[in-house]
C-alpha cells in the first residue's frame, strides 16, 4: 500500500487529491457519485461577499481537449455559503478548502473573516484565495496579473485568518513571469500556492461568426492546458529551490484526467493535485485519479507519495 498522505503547510491530508474550485459546486452534487470525505480536501466554488448572478449564456464552449468557461463567479454570497454549504460540508466531515474571491482587497478579507469566524471553521483545512478576479480599483485588471495587487489581497486576508489555517494563493498563468507573482504573494504571507487557474481564451461560433461565449472571453481548462500547468509548477518550484521564491507547498491544478497526469504535476513540484474539468467528463475523477496514482506509484516501486514531490528537479527516478 502506497502512503498517499501529504502535509499541506502543516495540515495533514490523507490524500493529495482535491476537487478544483468551480468544478464540483459545493459538494452535494458530487457526493451523489463519490464520497467526498475520502478526498484529501474538497475545494469549494469561489465565493464573494454578496450573491452573484454570473454571466449571460452561452457560458461555455468545448475546445480540443479542453473547454472555455465564463461563469462569472456565480454564487450565493458568503452568508448563504456558510449557512448552507459550509455547514453541510462540516456535517458530513469533509476537509474543506474554501475558495474566496473579491473585487477589492478588503472584500477578500471580509469574506475570509466570515468563513473563519463561522461555527463550521473546524472543517476548513485551508483558504484558497482566487486572485484571478478583476480588480475593481485597477481598471478591472486581474489581481493575479500584477504583483502589488496580489500582495495587498494576501496581506489583508492574512490579517483575518488564524494560525493553523493555511492561506493558498491561486495564481494565473497569463503573466510574463509567474515567479514574480509567486514571490509577491509568499512574501505577503501566503502559506502555499495553487497553480494554475484557467488561461484566457476566445472561441468563435463558426456559423454566426461571433464569439461563442456571450461574455466573449473565457477561461481555458482541461488536458489541453496541462503542459502549461506543469511548466508553471516547474518554474516556481525551481525558483524556490534556487531561493528566488521562499519555499512553500504547491497545489497543482490544470488538465489532470488520469493518475499519470497527477504524477506529472507532483514530480514537477506539487504536493497536492486538484481535478477540475475532468470531473465534468467523469464525476468520479477526483477519487479515481487518486487510485490510479497509487497504482502508478506502486508499479514504479515508490512507497510514499511524498518521495516523488519535485523529483523531476533531481533527475527523476533512478
Amino acid at each position: 500500500m502506497v502512503d498517499l498522505s501529504v502535509d499541506l503547510a502543516g495540515v495533514p491530508l490523507p490524500s493529495p487529491m482535491m476537487t478544483a474550485s468551480g468544478c464540483a459546486a459545493n459538494g452535494r452534487e458530487m457526493h451523489r457519485f463519490i464520497d467526498i470525505t475520502e478526498l484529501g480536501a474538497f475545494v469549494t466554488k469561489s465565493v464573494k461577499a454578496a450573491p452573484v448572478s454570473g454571466r449571460p449564456t452561452p457560458r461555455m464552449a468545448e475546445t480540443d481537449s479542453g473547454m472555455l468557461n465564463s461563469i462569472g463567479l456565480q454564487g450565493p454570497g458568503v452568508a448563504a455559503f456558510v449557512e448552507e454549504d459550509l455547514a453541510w460540508l462540516h456535517s458530513i466531515g469533509a476537509r474543506v478548502v474554501v475558495s474566496i474571491a473579491g473585487g477589492t482587497a478588503s472584500e477578500f478579507a471580509a469574506v475570509a473573516r466570515r468563513v473563519v469566524r463561522s461555527p463550521y471553521a473546524s472543517a476548513v483545512a485551508a483558504i484558497e484565495v482566487n486572485i484571478s478576479c478583476p480588480n475593481v480599483a485597477n481598471r478591472g485588471l486581474v489581481f493575479a496579473c500584477e504583483p502589488s495587487g496580489s500582495h495587498k489581497v494576501i496581506t489583508l486576508v492574512r490579517e483575518e485568518v488564524p494560525r493553523g489555517i493555511p492561506i493558498l494563493a491561486k495564481l494565473s498563468p497569463d503573466v510574463t513571469d509567474i515567479t514574480e507573482i509567486a514571490a509577491a504573494v509568499v512574501k505577503a504571507g501566503a502559506h502555499g500556492l495553487t497553480m494554475i487557474n484557467t488561461l484566457l481564451g476566445v472561441a468563435i461560433d463558426p456559423v454566426r461568426l461571433r464569439p461563442h461565449l456571450a461574455a466573449t472571453t473565457g477561461g481555458l481548462s482541461g488536458p489541453a492546458v496541462r503542459p502549461v500547468a506543469v511548466r508553471a509548477i516547474w518554474q516556481v518550484s525551481a525558483a524556490m529551490r534556487e531561493g528566488r521564491v521562499p519555499a512553500v507547498p504547491i497545489v497543482g491544478a490544470g488538465g489532470v484526467r488520469t493518475g499519470a497526469d497527477a504524477l506529472e504535476l507532483l514530480a514537477a513540484g506539487a504536493t497536492a493535485v486538484q481535478v477540475g474539468t475532468a470531473a465534468f467528463n467523469d464525476p468520479t475523477a477526483p477519487l479515481r485519479v487518486g487510485r490510479e496514482l497509487a497504482d502508478a506509484l506502486d508499479a514504479l516501486g515508490v512507497d510514499r507519495l511524498a518521495d516523488v514531490v519535485g523529483i523531476a528537479h533531481e533527475g527523476g527516478l533512478r
Partner: protein
Amino acid sequence: MTPSHPLGTAAREGARVVQVDAEVIRSAPAGIYQHLTLVAPGIAELARPGQFVAAAIGDEHSSMLLRRSFSIHRVSPQGAYGGTVEIVVAAHGPGTEQLLALPTGARVNLIGPLGRPFPVPQEPVACVLVGGGYGSAPLFWLADVLRERGCHVEIVLGAASRDRLFGVLEGRRSADGVTITTDDGSEGSKGWVSDVLPELITRTGASVIYGCGPMGMLRSLHEAAQEHGIVAQVAVEEAMACGIGICMTCVMPVRDATGTTKMVRSCVEGPVFRGDRVRWDAFVDGRCLVPDDALGAPEAGAR
C-alpha cells in the same frame, strides 16, 4: 476502435442516480435520427419521463471532454439484457456524430437519470403533449404514464419536414389523438404547432400542456397556455457541460415561488420548468441575458 473506457462507475446508496458503462445493443435509424438502445443497469429502474442521461464521448483519449445530454425516450427495467434505456440522437456536431455511428457492442459511459421529470397531475385531466423534432422522444412514455392515470392525451408533433418528425406511429399507439404539423407541409398540416394548439386545448378542455423542443416553440406553448389560463410544463435544452449540477454552465433565469428571478441550473432544477416561471424575455438572438432584476445581477450599466 473499441474505447478502453477507464471512466468511473458509481451507484451510491440513496443517490438515485448511477454512472454506468452502458452497452449499445441496438442502433437503428428513425427518419433522420438514430434510435439507440443501451443496457444501462440502474438507470431504467430509477427514471421517470422528462429525465435525461448524460453520455461521455469516447475514452480518456477523446478530445471531447464534455458530456452530451439526451432525453430518455423509454426504459425497460427488466429484459433479457437487464435494464435498458432508449435515446433518440440527432446529428448536431462531432459528439452526436460519434454516438450515432457506434456499432452494437460499443460502450458508452452514461449518467442518469438526471433532472426533474415532468410533474404528473393528481387528477385524470386532459393533457396536450407537444414535441418539436426529436423533442417528442420523451413524450410517448409520458403519454403512457398519463393514460394509466386516466388522463386524455393528445400529442402534437411538429417539425420542419416529414423526415424530422419522430414517433408518428408511436404517437398513434400512445395517445388518444395525434396532430402533425410540418413547416413545409410534407406531412400533416402546414405550419407550426402553435397554429393547432388553441383549437386542441379548447376542444379537449386540456388543463396542462407538456412540451419539449426548441426554445421558440416552448415559448409559444407557454403563451398558448397562458391565453387559456392553464399551465405549460416545458423541458428546455440549454447547453450543458456536465449534466449533474457541478459546472454552472446551463443556467437560465427562472422565477421562484416568491417571484425572485435567479439564474438556476437547468440540469438539476430543470430540464422541466413551469412556463410561467421562465424569464422568456431574457432569451435574445441565441443568447440568454441576465435580467437586471435577477438575484446578484451586476448593477445596471456596470455590465
